[in-house]
Symmetry: C2
Subunit: 227 residues, 2 copies
């Protein structure tokens, strides 16, 4: 029984790693779309989305089957419940990548935004957080997971900067209002991807240690600083 459970857990883990790979691609292409002004990248994100959606349902079904047939306990049960949650987060991150791709459709219709430096920096940090969160899952490494939880604030601070500069640009008329809003929305999408990376990291910590750390650290929030 345990051997068959171990095989099942290994299969579910492999499925989730594959899905995480799709997601990392989707985030990469969605970033290249606005950075390189590339419609081809927008199409790539949309193509990946259907793979993510299928994987999302397949992984949930596989977890359900394991829970129903193998009755996992203790750390195996924690692992499976974490997979169920991480699966949801990965799918919602892909939704955000699609949102970025769609916001980029609007973005490309307007004059390029005057200064993308902070948005580019933000996208790099978010992609790194996503990578580290996924690595923490793959390697069951709670130190890596903790790094994600600790570093998410950087993303929030950069998002505030992008918001403030976009508002300033709208007021100074160095960008039109729509374009300023497009940049704000892309920043907001990136921030949400970072939030989901934090959720994944928290689930990895629970899976490894049984500790629920979700409400024990303060996240910045609200106004220009949403959670």
């Amino acid at each position: 029984m345990q051997r068959s459970l171990d095989t099942g857990l290994g299969e579910v883990k492999a499925q989730l790693i594959q899905m995480a790979g799709y997601l990392e691609e989707a985030v990469k292409y969605s970033t290249l779309a606005w950075k390189n002004r590339s419609r081809e990248m927008i199409d790539k994100v949309n193509q990946i989305e259907s793979k993510v959606n299928q994987a999302h349902m397949d992984i949930d079904a596989a977890c359900f089957k394991l829970l129903a047939t193998q009755q996992p306990l203790a750390s195996d049960l924690r692992f499976l419940l974490s997979v169920v949650k991480i699966n949801t987060d990965l799918e919602r991150m892909a939704d955000q990548a699609v949102n970025i791709a769609n916001n980029t459709e609007f973005y490309l219709k307007h004059t390029p935004y005057p200064d993308l430096a902070d948005l580019i920096k933000m996208s790099e940090i978010v992609r790194e957080l996503v990578k580290v969160a996924i690595d923490s899952f793959i390697n069951s490494d709670s130190a890596l997971a903790k790094k994600v939880v600790d570093e998410d604030d950087q993303v929030d601070q950069l998002k505030d900067k992008v918001f403030q500069n976009a508002l300033e640009s709208i007021k100074m008329k160095t960008t039109d209002a729509e374009q300023g809003l497009n940049v704000i929305l892309i920043a907001r999408n990136l921030e949400r991807i970072g939030d989901h990376a934090t959720n994944i990291a928290e689930d990895v910590i629970f899976s490894i240690s049984g500790k629920d750390v979700r409400h024990s650290h303060s996240r910045e929030k609200g106004g220009l600083n949403e959670k």
Copy 2:
């Protein structure tokens, strides 16, 4: 064994209903905050948040314990997995109510926005969707759940209208850029609460029927129409 499982499932259900009640209050107060220009309502939302966070952790722990000790099968297992997911959605809806409260802090610092009619209408529809989603869970009613899934598009359409009018107001200088953005962000928060209500409804359908309907209907998305 089944009797003790039934008791456990009943307790978890009662806990989730209580949490849903907190959430409905948080959404109500967050709406009254900007609508009635009330700082008292902002405080109330923040007070509710800590109750929601505690309930979030307690419900997850209760589900884990039932899974570990009672090995539920078939519809009981589906119910428990749905509770785990709905619990997450309720907590994130509360985060959005907190975001609205915090955005309202900024909103109250500026001249009142010229026309809140669409935002008010949007908040009413979202609160109704939340109520129906919760009722579908309480009564295990998939027809009610389907209603939520079908009606979420109304929210997206109203959000587009709020976005367009806010952009127009910024350009015509009938509002300042910050206030236009505050209204856009509140609309975005409300839309996300509606999205979570849809997620809950989809989980209720899965719990009752075993059908995964999550990627079978199209959600509008992206640009001014994000998902």
